[in-house]
Symmetry: C3
Subunit: 345 residues, 3 copies
C-alpha cells in the first residue's frame, strides 16, 4: 500500500460524487455491518437500507436517494448510479494499488522450452512449465507449478494461477483468469463399446476460450473429440465444474460451483446455472435461460426463464413417507381418475 | 505428421474395404456435418443416414448397406462391420502417426529417488517426482509435475499425465491412463467420533487398479482403510469423480463425470453410471446395472436394468407448486384412500 | 517397522486390558472377516457380534461383554470401552511406528523465498514452493509440489500433502491435514452484472482455519470477499467439496465427498453432511443438524435433526411414469379436493 486514502480519492477512483466530508480517511473496505469509521462500505440492496441508520462506516457508496440520510448522520456519502458495480470497480482499483504488478521475468527454476514466444512483461513463476510451440501474449502471468502445454496460446494479460494446467493446443483469449488446479484440455470421455469392453477414442480437438473468461479452481474443461470445445467471451465458471467434450457455452453465461455439463450440449448466451446443476448431453439451451441450483436438465430448453427441479428437503421421517408414496404416484393418479369417473356417473 | 494419406491408407489402417476411389486424399477426420472433400468421416447411427445425401465428406467409414448410396455420389466409402469402433481405431492410429512417441529419458529437472526401478523406454517429464521404491514398467510416461509416491507400481505403457498424483504403495496395471490432477491414494475419510470430536483413523490400505483403466482429470480414488480400494480391468472413470475408501468397481464399468461412490460400496462389472449419479456406502450393485445421470442409489440393486431417480425440471412456478404439494403427498394418499372407502360403501 | 509385536503391546498402546494369551504375535490389522491368526481385529458394531464365533483373528479389540466368548475359543481379547475409538488410536500408533517422521529439512529442489520463517523440524519436499512472508510452525510437513503462498501461516504439525495449494494470506491452525490437490484460497466467485456482462469483484479476504482441520483431495475453500472464509476447529471435509466465499463452518462439523456450500452460508457445530449434499447461499444451519446424502438445503434449518430430500430411484419405466405424474401433482391435489367437496355434499 502506498500513501493514505480519503473518501475523495475513492470517489475519484470509481467516478462517484462526494457528499459530506471528502477528507475522511479510508483504510479498508468493509460490509455495512462490520464497518468502522475508517471503512468505505456500500449499499446496493434496498432491503439493507435500514443499516444506514446504524452502520459505523465512515464512508458509504450509495445511490443519490440514500445520500441525505447518511450525510445527516455526519458520515460521508459517495453517490453513484450502481453501488454494487462501483464496489466491484473499487475492489479492482484497490488490488491494483495494493499489489502492483511484480517485476516481469521468468523465475530461474521454471522450464520454458526452446522456441516458446513470450510477449512483453510476461511473468513466469517457480517450477512453471511452458512447453514447445506455446505463445504467450504481453503481460501474461503464469503461476508457480502451472503447466502450459505444447502450442498453447494465451492472450494478452491472461493469468494462469499456480498449478493450473493447459493441455496441448488449447487457445485462451485475453485477460482470462484460470484458477489453481483447473485442467483445460484433458481428454474428453470417449470410448467405443466392443464385446463388453471400451475402446479408446482419441480426442483430436482442443479447447477454445474467448476473452475475459474466468475458470474456477479444480474445474475441468475437456478437449473436443474432433472439433474444439468452445467457451465464448466473458463466460465465468466457478470451482469444481465439469465441462465435457464438444460443449459450446455462449458468451457471458455464468455457472456456480459443482455444475456438470455433458458432451456436446450447446448452451446459449447470458444464461446462469446454480450450483450443482447438471445438463445432459447433446441438448440445447437457449439464451437467457436460468437453471436453479441442483436441477437436472434432461431435454432442450429454448424459452427464456427460470427452471427448477429439486426434491424439497424435509425432516427425515416425513421425507421417507413422501418418497415412498412418490414411487406409487402413477397408481394414485389412476385411482383418482377411477374415483372421478365413478363420482360423475 | 509424415507424408500424405489416401482413403486406401485409412482402410488398411482400420481393416476396412474401399468402395470407389481409394486414391482420394485424406487430411483430417471430421463429423459428417462439418466434413469437406479432404475429410474422412463415419456413419455409425442409423438416424444420421440422411446426412449421406448431403455431406461434403470425401471419404466415409460406414456399413456395407450404406456404401452404394455414397459411392453413387462420387465419394469414397470404407466398409466395416462397426463404423463407430472403426472410427475409434482410426483416432488411435492417427494419434500414433501424428505424435510418435518422444525420445524416452528422464528430464534433467525431474526428481527420481535413488533406487527407483525404471523399465525400458520410460519417459519422465519436467519437475516430475518419483519417490523411493517406485517401479515403472517399460514405456511408462510420467508427465510434467506428476508425483509418483513411494513404492508405487506402474504397469507397462501406463501414462501419468501432467500433475496427476499417486500416493504411497498404489499399484496400477498396464496401459492405464491417469489424467491431470487426479489423486490416487489420498486418505479415505475415516474418523471415530468421541465426545463430539473426530479422531483420525489412519488409512493403511492402498489403491489397486487392473489393466486398461482410465481415470479422468481431478478425479479422486481414496486408499482403503485396511485393505485396498480396487478398480478392476478396463474401468473408465471420467473427470471429478469421487471413489471413497474400500470401494470395489468391477471390470469394464464406466462412470461419467461428477459421480460419487461412498465407502465400501461394491459395484459389479459392465455397469454404467450417468453424470453426477451418487452411490451410498456399504451397498452392492450387481453386473450390468445402469444408473441414469444424477440418480441416487440408496440401497443395493442386484437385477440388471436401467434405474433412474431425478426430480423433473420445470418452469420455476410450476416446480414450486408441485414441490410444495409433494411435501404433503403422504397425506394426499390418505385422503384418497378415505374417499375410496367412502365411495365403496 | 521395528521389532515384532504382541497382543500385550497392542493393549498397552491403546490402553486396553488383555484377556487370554498376551504373548500372541500381531503382524497386521485386519477386519474380522479377513483376519488370520497374526491379525488384530476389532468388534465395534453389535450386529457383527456373530463374526466372533467364526473369525480367524488371533486378537480382537472388543467390549468387556464380548470377551469371554472369544477367549473360550482360544483367542486373545483386548478389552476397551469403545472398540472403534481404540481401533482409530491403534491405526495412528501403527503409522507412527511404521513410518517414523523423516529427517526434517528442505529438499534441495524446493523453492523457499527469502525471509520465510521455518519452525523447528520443518520438512519441505521436492519442488515445493513457499512464498515470501510465509510462517511455518514446528514440525510442519510440506509435500512435493505443494504451493504455500505469500504470508500463509501454518500451525504446528500441519501436513500439506503433495500438490496442495494455499493462496496468499491464508491461515491454518495446528495439526491440519491438507490432502493432495486441495486449493485453499482461490478467489470467491464474485461478479457485478452490468449490461449483460460480469465485472470482477476482487476477493480481499482470505481463509482462516482452526486447529485439527482436515481437508480432502481436490477440495476447494475460497477466500472471502471482504472478510475471511472460516473453518473452525476440528472440521473434517472429504474430497471434491466446494466451500464458497464467506462460508462459516462451525467446529467439529463433517462433510462427505462432493458436498457444495454456496456463498455466505453459516453452518453450525457438530453437523454432518452426506455426500453431494448442497447448501444454498446466505442461509443458516444450526448446531447438530444432519443432512442426508444428495439432499439440497434451500432455506435455513435451526432445529437439530436429520433432514433428507432425494428422489427415490426406481426402475426406469416406473420412474418415468411417476416423474411425469409429478409434474401435475398440484393439479392432482386440486382434483382430489374437488372430489372431497363433492363427496361431502
Amino acid at each position: 500500500m502506498n500513501g493514505s486514502l480519503t473518501a475523495a480519492d475513492i470517489a475519484a477512483a470509481i467516478g462517484g460524487e462526494v457528499r459530506g466530508d471528502g477528507r475522511r480517511a479510508v483504510v479498508r473496505i468493509a460490509a455495512l455491518e462490520r464497518a468502522d469509521d475508517g471503512s468505505v462500505s456500500f449499499l446496493a440492496q434496498p432491503r439493507l437500507r435500514p443499516l444506514l441508520a446504524s452502520t459505523a462506516a465512515g464512508t458509504v457508496i450509495l445511490r443519490e436517494s440514500d445520500a441525505d440520510a447518511l450525510v445527516a448522520r455526519g458520515r460521508t456519502a459517495i453517490v453513484v448510479d450502481d453501488p454494487y458495480r462501483a464496489y466491484a470497480a473499487l475492489t479492482r482499483w484497490w488490488v491494483a494499488r495494493e499489489r502492483p504488478v511484480g517485476a516481469s521475468g521468468v523465475h530461474p527454476s521454471a522450464y520454458v522450452a526452446p522456441g516458446v514466444r513470450l510477449g512483453a512483461h510476461v511473468c513466469i513463476g517457480p517450477f512453471a512449465v511452458v512447453e514447445s510451440g506455446a505463445v504467450l501474449g504481453a503481460h501474461v502471468h503464469v503461476g508457480a507449478h502451472a503447466v502450459v502445454g505444447e502450442r498453447v496460446q494465451l492472450g494478452e494479460g491472461a493469468v494462469v494461477h499456480a498449478r493450473a494446467t493447459l493441455g496441448r493446443g488449447c487457445r485462451v483469449g485475453a485477460r482470462a483468469v484460470l484458477h489453481s488446479g483447473c485442467v483445460i484440455g484433458a481428454d474428453g470421455f470417449g470410448f467405443a463399446p466392443h464385446e463388453g469392453r471400451w475402446e479408446k477414442i482419441e480426442q483430436l480437438g482442443a479447447v477454445w476460450m474467448g476473452d475475459d473468461v474466468e475458470i474456477g479452481a479444480n474445474t475441468c474443461v475437456d478437449r473436443g473429440a474432433l472439433d474444439d470445445t468452445v467457451i465464448e467471451d466473458g463466460v465465468k465458471l466457478d470451482n469444481l465444474i465439469q465441462i465435457a467434450h464438444n460443449v459450446h457455452i455462449g458468451a457471458h453465461t455464468a455457472m456456480a460451483g459443482c455444475v456438470g455439463v455433458a458432451g456436446s450440449a450447446r448452451i446459449g448466451r447470458h444464461c446462469t446455472f446454480g450450483g450443482a446443476a447438471m445438463i445432459l448431453g447433446h441438448l440445447e439451451i437457449g439464451d437467457h435461460v436460468h437453471i436453479s441450483a441442483a436441477s437436472v436438465v434432461m431435454s432442450s430448453i429454448t424459452k427464456p426463464g427460470q427452471y427448477s427441479g429439486v426434491f424439497p428437503i424435509d425432516e427425515n421421517g416425513n421425507w421417507e413417507k413422501n418418497a415412498a408414496t412418490l414411487r406409487q404416484l402413477h397408481q394414485l393418479r389412476h385411482r383418482l381418475r377411477a374415483l372421478e369417473k365413478k363420482s360423475s356417473t
